[in-house]
């Protein structure tokens, strides 16, 4: 992947489109772009942590991992004055289908994450941090380790940073690729060396987190934004976006567009503009549907998404979630039953198996959708799917159950006729040759 376009870039400013994978990420480059100046300034001036949190709150930076929780508010939950260890954890366990932004941040701008974490640690009073990196992007784990070595050697992390007396030890930790380890409490379990399974909440990590100590967990992009926000000021960052949706954000656009990749645009940019930046729908075909926030977000039909703006509130109003900013574009050649089958299989395989509704329900959902796709659907299957999703949603330990249920509900809601057709005629509403024409795989197979 690459960063293929930007409007008012913040995180990717100065990366020149980042076409070269192996330069521009190092400490010298980051410092040349003005990096670590904020951390130095804070430590030199001994800025009160509350002041930092106030700026972050003013920027209305919302968590970039998917939930969109205001970062400043999250940081203010930390019992800073409590004696004992406190931890800061970065979640780079980017496993949601469609999402590939954090890996580019680690690839091209790892020091922004490190600086953001060091500032965060200072603000919440943590002395130790971990960056948990998805197990399937091994080379980026290595890159982050290399960046950590540089930062450690330059005295930006470690004991007594820049002679300030403040110490922050930061470590990289890689997972083994389980999607569930992106759930923050499963991630903590995994760091502790246990099986990655979400914990029941409450207690929340701010009171009982890593090794039972107060812990703050943020997404990679969230941390990377911190130095820039503090440099430009909270108001300025907020004004890049729109009210309650501060700043710019990376969008990972995949699917049926001409130029799939990462795009940094201000929150509030119309979807149509983003689609245009991507070169439009592939082959000039007609847009059918878009999943705007990663595979767990409800799908939106073309007419709805074309009127929406890309920000938390805008997408929410349109009936979905901005999530991690993973935009999956589907054109008219897509069979929605097939697409849902693929998604349901993912959640079925990635359920941690801990709690009953998710462990059993996700498999059941997949089996039914699979059956419909393969011409063995039954007349009451759609009602059954609705019932099963209702029995999963809100009944599970973590949000994976909801994540598995929402695509099913939204696909059926918006494309019910396709499902009904499938059940009745035992084949797709979208003719197979049309599907094949739209499929890169089948094209390649024909040429061969």
């Amino acid at each position: 992947m690459a960063i293929l376009g930007a409007i008012h870039p913040v995180l990717t400013a100065g990366l020149n489109g980042a076409v070269d994978n192996n330069s521009g990420w190092q400490l010298k480059d980051y410092v040349a772009r003005g990096g670590y100046s904020v951390l130095k300034k804070i430590l030199a001036e001994k800025t009160p942590p509350d002041e930092i949190i106030t700026v972050i709150k003013a920027s209305v930076l919302r968590g970039r991992g998917g939930a969109g929780f205001p970062t400043g508010l999250k940081w203010s939950f930390m019992p800073r004055s409590l004696p004992g260890d406190k931890y800061l954890v970065c979640n780079t366990d980017e496993g949601e289908p469609g999402t590939f932004k954090d890996r580019d941040l680690i690839r091209y701008n790892p020091h922004a994450v490190i600086e953001g974490m060091a500032i965060g640690a200072y603000a919440i009073g943590a002395t130790r941090g971990y960056n948990y990196i998805h197990g399937e992007i091994w080379e980026l784990y290595q890159r982050f380790e290399a960046a950590l070595d540089e930062a450690r050697a330059a005295g930006f992390i470690g004991q007594n940073i820049q002679g300030s007396g403040f110490g922050f030890e930061l470590f990289a930790h890689h997972g083994y690729g389980a999607y569930i380890c992106g759930e923050e409490t499963a991630l903590l379990e995994s760091i502790e060396g246990k099986k990655g399974q979400p914990r029941f909440k409450p207690p929340f990590p701010a009171s009982f987190g890593l090794y039972g100590k107060p812990t703050t967990i943020n997404n990679t992009e969230t941390f990377a934004s911190i130095p820039f926000i503090l440099k430009m000021g909270g108001e300025a960052f907020l004004n890049l976006g729109k009210p309650n949706n501060g700043g710019t954000k990376l969008f990972s656009v995949s699917g049926h567009v001409e130029r799939p990749g990462n795009y940094e645009i201000p929150l509030g940019t119309p979807f149509a503009k983003l689609l245009e930046m991507c070169g439009g729908v592939r082959g000039g075909r007609k847009l059918k549907a878009v999943i705007p926030g990663g595979s767990s977000a409800p799908v939106l039909p073309a007419d709805v998404i074309l009127d929406a703006t890309m920000d938390y509130d805008g997408i929410s109003k349109a009936g979905s979630m901005l999530g991690s900013g993973a935009v999956i574009v589907m054109d008219e050649t897509t069979c929605m039953v097939k697409a849902l089958e693929r998604l349901s299989y993912f959640y079925h395989e990635e359920s941690c198996g801990q709690c009953t509704p998710c462990r059993e329900g996700t498999g059941w959902l997949y089996q039914i959708v699979h059956r419909i796709e393969n011409g063995a659907g039954r007349p009451d299957d759609l009602a059954l799917l609705g019932d099963i999703t209702a029995n999963i949603m809100g009944r599970t330990v973590c949000a994976l159950g909801d994540a598995a249920a929402m695509p099913v509900q939204s696909f059926i809601k918006h494309f019910r006729d396709e499902f009904a057709y499938h059940i009745e005629h035992k084949t797709c509403l979208v003719p197979k040759d049309v599907q094949w024409a739209g499929s890169g795989f089948h094209k390649a197979a024909e040429v061969r």
Binding site: K195, F200, H348, Q354, T356, T362, W364, I368
Partner: protein, 787 residues
């Protein structure tokens, strides 16, 4: 306190309570699988979802903390729909093979499916299949497709047994409960997982397919296998004990029992049971009637008493005989003019007989163990000798941060975090305890007790003393090895000194089910100069006639060589036994079939002094008879006065013990009347190797020794000679080699193994096992040479 209303019923609950706690207080049942009051909260089954006012979605009662003014609805439409939804999910991949499932009839899933599920399944797909596992001879994991992934067994291992032997691997519907690859489940508490399993995934291997739950009669009983006196439910069909389960008694065994207690019953149905009185005539064993057998014994006893005097008679009883049996045995013997009776076959040192103020006991209640701040255990193979006491101490460490220290003759991992641990040779144990006493005196700034002036205080001793002084509630407990060592009296005196210095309780982890009761029943030798007639002296100075009551001398005595030699020269040996004890066929003259605990009424007094009477649960097998009846009739045959008891309660009353279910015995006191000054350190024998003998958990009494499933466990592995690497090097031996071990006239050949838990100069060789029965003193000197 918080106020909560559940289904309209109001309650006040302590802060920190969960909705489930509150519901139990109110007597409201909330369906659940993964929740168990003794385990941590997992909240994974989701069966206990309830509606909470103002909460947008149903919440799990087990994990939801009560907030003041909370209103909960367990049967509202929302709650019921959530519960039914979860149950449907649980059943879709469950095989529904209830007709062939051992759990059928006592299955939580079955019950809740009836109460909360639909009559018909909407799931038409293929069910997920889980491959069966073999985890040893006790737990069957043959039908793991039945598992509902509640993880009770996993949490039990982590939290109660102290070792995680089962875990949940894989993800999603592929999740499986399994052990580490190729490993069995070896915890001595593992059988409790069978009880905890709410479905038929973990079932009892010995019980499998032998009966349905509803065919069994449930009877209360008390475990004869260790000094806790765990309360049991013995399930019986056609006068045959088919299963043993814990009976919940929070004060004694909570809801747990050890595997020994759970599976020992299998021996009671074995072919080795003695079912007919037998007499040896002209070297031939003949089955005879009770009349003939008792006449024979009575004549023998009378003749010998007449010709050689009462002192020529001796009786040795097992410490897990009932109070009634022991009382009648000593009464009979004393009526014949003999005071040679004892119930302590493994004891070596009797120097404090006659100096006790009262009856030795635990020194506190079992329940109090969980609230200790610091505990010192001296001379104990804690986890295997006292599984449930180890479990209580583990709880104290895990939940309350108690500091438990171990000063023993070998450090076996007790599966609890030890504050301090030191292993010394048995002959050095008193010196090591003396160092703690001295350190405690120095730390308290009081004068060092006389005799301890020259004791060197090591770091471990200081650490132990410090924890005992710092803690508010502290205890010093002497284990089996301490009581069986040659320094038992010294250890007792030192323990009392330490307790006084540190304001701790002092007591004994009783050796057997009725160690306390036996003393109260008078099964102790008359105290005369030189300690006449105790369990050792009666063999050192051979007698003419022996009554052996429930003991197997070559396995139960501190020095089997000595015992067997004395028995072989005796004119008459009568063995009261539940089993045909083959080694006894050589030296015994009469075998009297004794009813085991399931076939007799009786009373045990456990180590905390709790009097627990029990009734027989089955008719005696064959001609076996309750011990108290045999002794009562023998008394009649002998024309002795006062042997006209009609039932065991009368015997108990005669023994001076008021039968009371939850009552405690009186006269419990660990103090000594006088303490002579002993000078420490006691000189150590030089260059001699010392034997260190544990009695492995499944070799402690005749019943467990014959339980086939228990004998197939890892705990019943063949004995080896275990030495530290240093000792091995000194002897020029390598682990795995066969060595010849010699004590006195006897020697055995065993493989040698390396074990760093054994102190240098020590050779650990288990007692209680047929292979080592030819050896001498449990803690005596031993020679080792290459075989």
């Amino acid at each position: 306190m918080l106020e909560i209303e559940i289904d309209g019923k109001a309650a006040r609950v302590p802060d920190g309570s969960t909705v489930m706690d509150a519901a139990q207080l109110l007597g409201t049942y909330i369906p659940h699988f993964c929740y168990h009051k003794k385990l941590s909260i997992a909240a994974n089954c989701r069966m206990c979802l309830v509606q909470v006012e103002k909460a947008p979605k149903p919440l799990p009662a087990c994990a939801t903390p009560v907030t003041n003014g909370m209103k909960v609805f367990t049967h509202s439409a929302l709650a019921k729909k959530a519960q039914a939804g979860v149950l449907e999910f649980l059943l879709i991949n469950h095989p529904l093979d209830c007709p062939v499932c051992d759990q059928g009839g006592e299955c939580q899933l079955q019950d809740l499916a009836v109460g909360y599920g639909n009559g018909k399944s909407r799931y038409g797909e293929e069910k997920h299949v889980v491959v069966h596992k073999n985890v040893g001879p006790l737990i069957s994991m043959q039908e793991m497709s039945r598992c509902i992934h509640c993880t009770r067994c996993v949490r039990f291992g982590q939290e109660i047994a102290g070792v995680m032997e089962l875990g949940m691997t894989h993800r999603s519907v592929h999740s499986e409960i399994m052990s580490f690859v190729g490993r069995s489940v070896d915890s001595e508490l593992s059988g409790n997982m069978i009880d905890l399993c709410p479905v038929g995934a973990l079932t009892s291997k010995p019980f499998r397919y032998s009966a349905r739950a509803w065919e069994l009669q449930r009877h209360r009983s008390v475990s004869p296998h260790d000094s806790v006196g765990a309360n049991l439910i013995v399930q019986v069909k056609h006068d045959k004990a088919l299963r043993v389960l814990p009976r919940e008694n929070e004060a004694v065994n909570e809801c747990w029992i050890s595997d020994k207690e759970r599976f020992a019953y299998t021996a009671l149905n074995s072919d080795e049971r003695l079912t007919q009185p037998m007499i040896k005539q002209g070297g031939e064993w003949r089955e005879v009637s009770w009349n003939a057998a008792l006449d024979y014994v009575a004549h023998g006893l009378k003749d010998i008493a007449k010709t050689a005097g009462g002192d020529a008679l001796a009786a040795l009883a097992a410490p897990n005989a009932t109070v009634e049996e022991l009382y009648l045995l000593q009464k009979l013997l004393r009526a014949l003019g003999s005071g040679n009776i004892d119930h302590r076959p493994r004891q070596r040192d009797f120097s404090i007989d006659g100096k006790r103020v009262g009856t030795p006991w635990l020194g506190l209640t079992l329940a109090d163990l969980k609230h200790r701040d610091a505990v010192l255990v001296v001379g104990s193979f804690l986890r295997k000798d006292h599984p449930l006491i180890a479990q209580r101490l583990r709880h104290a460490v895990q939940k309350h941060g108690a500091e438990v220290s171990l000063l023993s003759v070998a450090v076996d991992d007790p599966l609890l975090k030890l504050h301090a641990a030191r292993a010394v040779l048995p002959s050095d144990l008193a010196n090591a305890l003396a160092a703690v006493v001295k350190s405690a005196a120095l730390q308290k700034g009081v004068s060092v007790p006389a005799g301890l002036e020259n004791v060197a205080v090591d770091e471990t001793a200081e650490r132990i003393a410090r924890s005992l002084i710092a803690g508010e509630k502290t205890s010093i407990l002497l284990g089996n090895a301490a009581q069986q060592s040659a320094d038992a009296g010294h250890l007792h005196a030192l323990g009392l000194q330490l307790a006084a210095l540190t304001d701790a309780t002092f007591g004994f982890l009783g050796e057997a089910a009725n160690s306390v009761g036996a003393q109260l029943a008078g099964a102790l030798p008359d105290v005369v100069q030189g300690g006449k007639g105790n369990a050792r002296q009666m063999f050192e100075q051979p007698r003419h006639a022996y009554l052996l009551f429930g003991v197997e001398p070559e396995l139960d005595c501190a020095n089997p060589q000595l015992a067997v030699a004395a028995l072989q020269q005796a004119k008459m040996v009568a063995l009261f036994s539940a089993f045909k004890h083959t080694s006894a066929l050589e030296y015994a003259d009469v075998l009297l079939p004794l009813a085991p605990f399931t076939e007799t009424s009786g009373t045990f007094i456990n180590t905390e002094g709790r009097i627990q009477s029990f009734a027989g649960v089955a008719r005696p097998l064959g001609e076996a008879r309750p011990g108290w009846k045999i002794l009562r009739v023998l008394g009649n045959v002998l024309n002795l006065p006062g042997f006209d008891y009609e039932n065991s309660e009368e015997v108990l009353r005669a023994a001076g013990i008021q039968a009371a279910d939850a009552g405690f015995a009186t006269g419990l006191d660990n103090r000594l009347q006088e303490t002579e000054v002993t000078v420490y350190p006691k000189p150590q024998p030089t260059n001699a190797l010392e034997r260190i003998a544990d009695v492995p958990i499944h070799f402690t009494d005749p019943i467990v020794r014959r339980s086939a499933p228990l004998q197939a466990t890892a705990d019943a592995a063949l004995p080896t000679a275990r030495c530290s690497a240093a000792t091995l090097a000194q002897l020029g031996l390598q682990a795995g080699q066969n060595v010849k071990l010699t004590q006195g006239q006897g020697s055995v050949v065993l493989p040698v193994a390396q074990d760093e838990g054994v102190p240098a100069g020590g050779v650990r060789v288990a007692a209680g096992h047929a292979l080592t029965a030819g050896l001498g003193d449990m803690f005596g000197s031993i020679t080792v040479e290459r075989a």
